[in-house]
């Protein structure tokens, strides 16, 4: 616990807030040097501030802020809370613990151990130089409201200056908070905000309808968007009260009495534990959504007609998950069961209204899906290809029919067989089906299912099914090589096309998902162990090549955990064949902890520097007759013995020779022929191992 620092009582001076430089609160410290920062030599220092440290924990100094709103979009809440915490920390009010909580209708910050009042501070206001005329000094003193005698002379780096040490009485936390909270609340970051009190009014994610702001038992008074802060909260919309008086200590319990579980963790636990008896398909993202969509969650199990199980599971699960936010249920064998779990935002369903309502909605949704499935079968996937002429891929890049043609060519170039060609041909045809128009997130999957239904071989339908994969870094790549090649053809075509017409992603703008596409290409090549020269497939577009290098770096570093310099070193030795790159990275990673590695890497860096400084152009063979007996000859012999062997088996023998060479031999000897020969030796050595990595990129401690 951080003890709060509080001034000695008795120095209170009301009215000091009127001084303009104080109005912005502690944030002004960057313009006025606080007294704690490196005190310069003071010639006269009578005015020390008495500072006492006292324990300020206890009821009186608890802080509670509840921003009561209309329903906030669930996915924005965690970020908003984190942001609220940062904004509070920026106030620099001493405190112990901070706790943040939220439901859809409230963002809550609670902190303990706030001081009632901040300690007095001294502020140093620098005036004229010692050499300045007396009037200037008097003028400065007058401006500060003191006599020239009240000024001190301070020695600074620039000379001696008159300085006024102004004592600023510490403000009460309540005043600071009352002043800061309105701005703080409106500064919470949301991706999109609205106004509601009229044009030019405050903006927030949704209208603010009440505010609780308490310090101990006192209300921190302020008004925001026409709402006065107070000590009244609101309970659950339908089960709880509307104006509930609370205190800092009974707040959470009072909410619970009014059917609001404040803690997201508690809501999560409640959902999970109440679903424990049902074999649900685990879905953490959906769980998170529901945690922030409810104040009083309660699972309820519903059923659907088993005849809908004739529809593919993918379709059923998508309807349940994306459209209804239901968990799907599996039977003992892992197959989809005709059941679902909905999470209510209420206590119970004694009459069964809620269960039956949800069941009917789901039945209608499934009926729709079946309607689309049946009507889509009237036209085979293959017969839809020409319809793609009317579906625009991108205005400058033509229709999906044209894209299909390019994908087929590319799939062939990448080494795809006839199955890959067929899959590429069918891959986009599902864009014209009603089912995909209704459930766009099922593109690819629906095409695959239709292809299977229409008798296409497994290699083909699975490739269609998988060709959007991987959709994220966590997603798997297509299940087999044919699908991998089709997915590569799709993504590479998009990337080449978009970069070709200048639609490169910039900053956070990436409307075509090019980062994800490139990331997918990297992931497929590496994890599918496809040894294709990636950089040769980019039509020589330098921006695209650089873009891919960035993606490869990101993949190996952030996703695979290789170190920054290892990735740089390995990529410097080749970055087109990503399978080879990965193998070399693994070798470097394994070598790194061995005792000889870092010293050798340091030597390689030294060699490179020497070669660069000497302007060594390379070429030429080593002339053994010019080698000096001793360390130079020894290094050469060792090199001769080990040349061609992998670095792992030679490093321990080579390293002492290199060390000794640098210890004893002067490279820049006056004899030009000897010098040239030595440079050639070093260059040969560097070359020998630089097909694995440019070891000079390794960051070493030595």
């Amino acid at each position: 616990m951080k003890p709060a620092i509080v001034e000695t009582p008795g120095l209170d001076s009301p009215g000091i807030e009127d001084i303009s430089i104080l109005e912005a609160g502690p944030a002004l410290e960057d313009t006025i040097e606080p007294v704690t920062a490196e005190p310069p030599t003071v010639t006269q220092m009578e005015r020390h501030i008495a500072v006492d440290v006292i324990d300020t924990s206890g009821l009186a100094n608890r802080f509670l802020l509840e921003i009561g709103t209309e329903e906030i979009p669930d996915w924005m809440i965690p970020t908003a809370l984190e942001n609220l915490r940062l904004l509070f920390e920026k106030l620099a009010l001493p405190h112990d613990s901070v706790r943040l909580d939220a439901t859809p209708r409230r963002l809550v910050l609670r902190a303990d151990g706030l001081p009632l009042r901040l300690p007095d501070r001294q502020e140093r206001v620098q005036g004229p130089a010692k050499s300045a005329p007396a009037q200037a000094v008097a003028g400065f003193a007058r401006k500060q409201g003191v006599l020239p005698d009240d000024l001190i002379l301070e020695v600074t780096a620039k000379g001696e200056y008159y300085t006024y040490l102004k004592k600023v009485p510490g403000r009460s936390s309540k005043d600071i908070l009352a002043e800061a909270l309105p701005g703080l609340i409106l500064n919470i970051y949301f991706p999109k905000t609205m106004y509601w009190t009229g044009k030019g009014g405050p903006r927030f994610i949704r209208p603010i309808r009440w505010i609780v702001a308490l310090l101990g038992e006192e209300i921190i008074p302020f008004t925001l968007a026409g709402v006065r802060s107070g000590a009244l909260t609101a309970g659950h919309r339908r089960l709880g009260g509307r104006e509930i008086a609370i205190t800092c200590s009974d707040y959470e319990q009072r909410l619970r009495d009014h059917y609001v579980i404040l803690s997201a963790e508690d809501r999560r636990q409640k959902i999970v534990s109440r679903m424990a008896g049902t074999r649900i398909k685990r879905d953490d993202a959906l769980l998170e959504t529901l945690v922030y969509l409810t104040e009083w969650p309660q699972p309820i199990v519903g059923n659907f007609d088993p005849q809908f199980l004739e529809l593919p599971e993918e379709v059923l699960i998508t309807v349940m998950r994306h459209h209804q936010k239901y968990f799907s249920v599996q039977d003992a064998s892992g197959k989809l069961a005709p059941q679902f779990v909905a999470i209510m935002n209420t206590e119970s369903d004694p009459e069964g209204f809620i269960r039956r309502g949800n069941e009917r909605v789901l039945r209608a949704r499934f009926t729709d899906a079946r309607f689309f499935w049946d009507s889509d079968q009237k036209k085979k996937l293959a017969d839809r290809k020409q319809d793609l002429a009317h579906v625009t891929f991108q205005a400058k890049l033509g229709s999906y029919l044209e894209k299909t043609g390019r994908m087929m060519t590319l799939a062939r170039e990448l080494g795809g067989d006839n199955h890959a060609m067929r899959a590429a041909e069918l891959s986009k045809c599902d864009l014209t089906t009603d089912l995909v128009k209704e459930f766009t997130e099922l593109q690819g999957v629906v095409g695959g299912l239709y292809a299977r239904h229409q008798g296409e071989p497994a290699a083909v339908w699975q490739s269609v099914y998988d060709h959007y994969k991987p959709e994220s870094m966590e997603d798997t790549i297509p299940r087999h090589r044919t699908g991998q090649l089709v997915a590569l053809a799709d993504k590479l075509d998009t990337l080449r096309g978009c970069f070709g017409v200048g639609m490169n992603p910039s900053g956070s703008r990436d409307p075509f998902g090019l980062r994800r596409a490139a990331q997918g290409v990297v992931k497929i090549l590496v994890e599918g162990r496809i040894e294709l020269p990636l950089l040769d497939l980019l039509e020589g577009n330098q921006e695209l090549i650089a873009f891919f290098e960035g993606r490869a770096r990101f993949y190996f570093r952030d996703h695979r955990g290789f170190k920054y310099d290892e990735v740089a070193a390995a990529m410097a030795a080749g970055r087109s064949n990503l399978v080879d790159l990965e193998a070399r990275l693994v070798r470097i990673q394994n070598l790194r902890p061995t005792p000889d590695f870092e010293p050798l890497a340091a030597s390689f860096k030294r060699i490179r520097n020497i070669l660069e400084q000497a302007g060594f152009a390379g070429g030429g063979a080593i002339d053994a007759s010019l080698l000096e007996a001793g360390p130079e000859k020894d290094l050469y012999d060792e090199f001769q013995r080990t040349a061609g062997q992998p670095i792992e088996s030679v490093i321990s023998k080579l390293r002492p020779r290199v060390d000794l060479f640098f210890d004893k031999v002067l490279v820049n000897t006056p004899d030009a022929a000897v010098r040239q020969n030595r440079l050639t030796l070093l260059n040969t050595l560097l070359k020998e191992f630089s097909n694995i990595a440019d070891f000079s990129e390794i960051v070493t401690n030595s």
């Binding site: 919309r237 969509l293 409810t294 009459e351 209204f353 309502g357 209608a364 579906v391």
Partner: protein, 303 residues
């Protein structure tokens, strides 16, 4: 069991008691109640307003020949505009559900993020879809912009999907089975509309004729809006409402062409722009015209 019409009457009664003008449907085809001048134009400017009306909303692409139990070419929206939105607007909305016999303590209600945007109107707002036992029964939107203009006063727009709501209350799986009035099902009243308009929109609408009509209405709207002069002393009598009717015509023809499959994705963007341009021009002219209008309006509604 409450009939379709009883539910409508009760909702109208409820909102009338809360100071709304009860309007009748607008008599030109629209895709949503928002497009009616009672919403699109009335939300502009600082004057408070409250209105509720049932608007048949035509979406040619949603037609299913009367085969699909949940999808309609023409459905009925109850549109409520509260300008400005009162602080208890959500409570008032929930009260309207109670008024049609939904005991909210027995049901599950969630407000899920759904931000509304109408590119053809240059309009957007933030709000929710209201989910009752997993069924979306309403859209709730705080308008932010209309016709490309930041609104002076933020209205709340409540849109009830009346067929869905009724099917829910009457426990009917097909919209055609709901009781419109004693002795008349929804199917009795509307099946022919669904079938015949689906046939027309998907099969028989003549594409060249529709394009010609689109061009004619666009021409008329553009001709008129260009004549509006903000500096003219006679601008108060300028026929902006009839100009806007031409825009609505274009919008419906665009939707029909779209359902007919006559608009490619590339063209789509262009045609939406054309409609939007007209809507935005009318909105700007209207805002200017009404700003300078003498307060001859009916007594200011709202609170």
């Amino acid at each position: 069991m409450q009939s379709f019409q009883e539910i409508i009457l009760k909702l109208k009664q409820y909102w009338a008691e809360r100071g709304c003008v009860i309007q009748e449907p607008y008599d030109i085809e629209v895709g949503a109640g928002t497009m009616c001048p009672e919403t699109f134009l009335r939300v502009l400017g600082p004057r408070p307003y409250r209105v509720a009306y049932v608007q048949p909303s035509r979406r040619p692409a949603d037609g299913r020949y009367g085969d699909n139990p949940n999808r309609l070419y023409k459905h009925s929206q109850l549109q409520v505009i509260l300008k400005p939105a009162p602080p208890d607007v959500i409570e008032q909305y929930l009260g309207s559900l109670e008024a049609i016999g939904i005991d909210l303590r027995q049901h599950d209600l969630k407000l899920e993020e759904d931000n509304w945007e109408a590119p053809t109107l240059g309009a957007w707002g933030m709000g929710w879809q209201v989910m009752l036992d997993g069924l979306e029964i309403s859209q709730f939107t705080y308008f932010q912009q209309c016709g490309g203009i930041d609104l002076d006063v933020v209205p709340a727009e409540l849109t009830y999907g009346l067929e869905r709501l009724t099917a829910f209350l009457q426990v009917k799986d097909s919209v055609y089975d709901i009781e419109w009035a004693p002795g008349f099902s929804y199917g009795d009243v509307r099946y022919q509309d669904e079938l015949q308009y689906s046939v027309y929109n998907f099969e028989m609408a003549d594409v060249p004729t529709l394009w010609k009509l689109f061009d004619l209405h666009e021409g008329e709207a553009t001709r008129l809006v260009k004549m509006y002069d903000p500096k003219s002393p006679g601008k108060q009598r300028f026929p902006l409402l009839p100009t806007y009717d031409q825009v609505l015509k274009c919008s419906n023809i665009f939707n029909t062409l779209d359902a007919r499959g006559a608009i490619s994705v590339t063209e789509r963007v262009g045609v939406i722009q054309r409609v939007r341009k007209m809507a935005v021009a009318v909105a700007h002219a209207w805002a200017d015209q009404q700003a300078d209008r003498q307060p001859d309006a009916p007594a200011e509604a709202g609170q």
